[in-house]
Symmetry: C2
Subunit: 359 residues, 2 copies
């Protein structure tokens, strides 16, 4: 097992990465403050891994809430449903919540933990590649609003993140591919060596080679942990993690949550950021080809969905959290492994990139 | 104008208390991070004070959301309604939210500020005595759930609290009296001299004498600020502020939110805590008489509502946030000005006190 640490003073916590971790109660016990556990999962993950987790704690009272599957259910009603179950089960402030599932489960359950009686301890047990390398680390929790993604939420750090890579064996291929978009993102932001490693190992990752997966997850998480430790509440460099996300969120909202997977939308958004950076003269055209090439080889989209006009995307982006004082801020490229945040791009060039016919 | 400070490191903020503060934009300007303000108020307070506040900021973009009046509307739907308005008005992370109203407005708007895009700056402008001395200070925000009061929320400190006591001139008498329950609470917890002062000045307070009100508010807020600075997240001594609240919350939930005012329920709860402390042999009978005497003279109830049986109260209390590891924790008395938190009371004695016939 590999252990990383997210350094946040009093809120410092470990990320544990390895095989068969769900059968090891000693990984969880340090974070349980009472004899009552609340497990939140969904109807897809529970049949696969819930009993394994539950068997770890034969002497504890365990309450359970299962969420419906899918980003389209990531709303405040789901949060309130968890809270209702917790009240019915007499969970108190010492109860620890375990979030077993992908990013949607973690985001909803994390916000429920943040809000229940003004905040209780929770542990992230991410079961998808996307959540293992991204959403489970960093304390961003929250749900969507019909007018925008992740608009309602809290910063609430987990007490621990437990990544059992065995869970990836049952992950649908489309979800695996979607998760790889976020993995590739870390290489692009500021880890050129990792990007090169990914170019060499993309086939092994797609074949779910365990050693390759552990390396990719560890490298992604240590990149994220370093950035989050520097900037927990996204006042500065954490914004780099949003590479591709302004466009990506607009795609998800515009097509209706759940139609394109998050990583698919991010992939198209990354390619757009690369093309815009190139149009600005900041990024070499060859590097654009290399970026889009790796994403395409992974099986990810490299163009915006044709159903959405440039105008519609721009309207959706105007409500993005990354807008500050009326100016859209984007993560753009100097080169692979060297991204930066800017609002000093040419708006007309962005419109042009958005309006390009797919090809 | 009197200025107090709540010492919370990076989250330190001022409480300003005085007359005609709503006409002084310079009190607000240090806390505005952008040219866009979001004001949340309700249909009772807005006709009285909104235009005064709005006139302070003639050059800023101002968005507005009015809530329905009453504790019965303090729910998550109200929070989501504010967030919808904020998204429609293109509020961003730099927008400052101003909560103009009583405790219900502050609690709902504060939780909206905590949750909007994972947290924005907000200013409390409490317009009732209850909110001026209690709920606006300390960062507790949140809403009710049908199964319990304040069960969904966040700790989110305001950037400033601005108490304009002119707003008390229009406060209905029943609300003024309700607020005095929380004022008296501070004397009871650990400020015996203040309790004596209140015995001497209760008539002046009921007559809305401005000098007496300023003294009472200042003393209450400095008591609260000191306790909150020691224990922001209620891990220890902050629990003392819950004197009367376990019983009080059960009354509010049992009768339906809004039937008894918060201070009325707290008053009955304080008397019950005093009687239980006496039954335990911890508090002198004469002091019980003195406690209930001041509350009664103020015009507050000193008995539990006869509609609620002891059994019903106990059932409602089992979901209280102050339950930890299955044990109810109560704030009880050694003497006036010397309260303590305990779960070591005789449960049977509590049942007896709850079952006492009114008289």
């Amino acid at each position: 097992m590999i252990q990383l640490r997210v350094d946040l003073g009093q809120r410092t916590y470990p990320i544990m990465i390895g095989q068969d971790l769900l059968s090891h109660p000693q990984l969880f016990l340090p974070y349980l403050n009472s004899s009552h556990l609340m497990i939140v999962s969904n109807h897809t993950v529970a049949p696969l891994y819930l009993s394994k987790l539950q068997d770890c704690f034969p002497t504890l009272k365990q309450s359970l809430h299962l969420l419906p599957e899918g980003e389209q259910y990531k709303n405040v009603d789901a949060v309130m449903a968890i809270i209702t179950t917790m009240l019915q089960q007499h969970c108190d402030r010492k109860t620890t919540l375990l979030a077993l599932g992908g990013g949607v489960v973690g985001d909803i359950a994390g916000f429920a933990a943040a809000s229940y009686q003004r905040g209780i301890t929770f542990i992230q047990i991410p079961t998808t590649l996307l959540s293992q390398v991204d959403s489970s680390v960093g304390g961003k929790t929250g749900v969507n609003h019909p007018l925008g993604k992740n608009m309602v939420g809290a910063f609430h750090q987990p007490a621990a993140v437990i990544v059992d890579i065995d869970t990836l064996d049952t992950l649908p291929r489309r979800e695996l591919v979607s998760g790889l978009a976020e993995v590739i993102k870390y290489g692009l932001i500021n880890d050129y060596d990792f990007f090169c490693w990914l170019e060499d190992h993309i086939d092994a990752l797609l074949a779910r080679d365990h050693a390759a997966l552990v390396t990719a997850i560890e490298r992604s998480c240590s990149n994220k942990a370093r950035i989050v430790a520097q900037d927990e509440r996204e006042q500065g460099c954490r914004a780099l993690l949003n590479l591709g996300h302004s466009f990506g969120h607009a795609i998800e909202a515009g097509l209706g949550y759940g139609n394109w997977l998050h990583g698919e939308a991010i992939s198209a958004g990354i390619c757009l950021a690369a093309r815009l950076s190139c149009a600005q003269g900041w990024l070499d055209r060859q590097q654009v080809t290399r970026i889009c090439g790796l994403l395409k080889k992974t099986g990810l989209p490299v163009r915006m969905p044709k159903e959405l006009s440039a105008q519609r995307i721009l309207a959706l982006m105007s409500n993005d959290k990354k807008v500050a004082c009326g100016r859209l801020r984007l993560v753009l490229f100097h080169s692979i492994g060297d991204c930066f945040v800017s609002s000093d791009f040419d708006y007309k060039k962005m419109q042009d990139c958005l309006g390009q016919p797919p090809g």
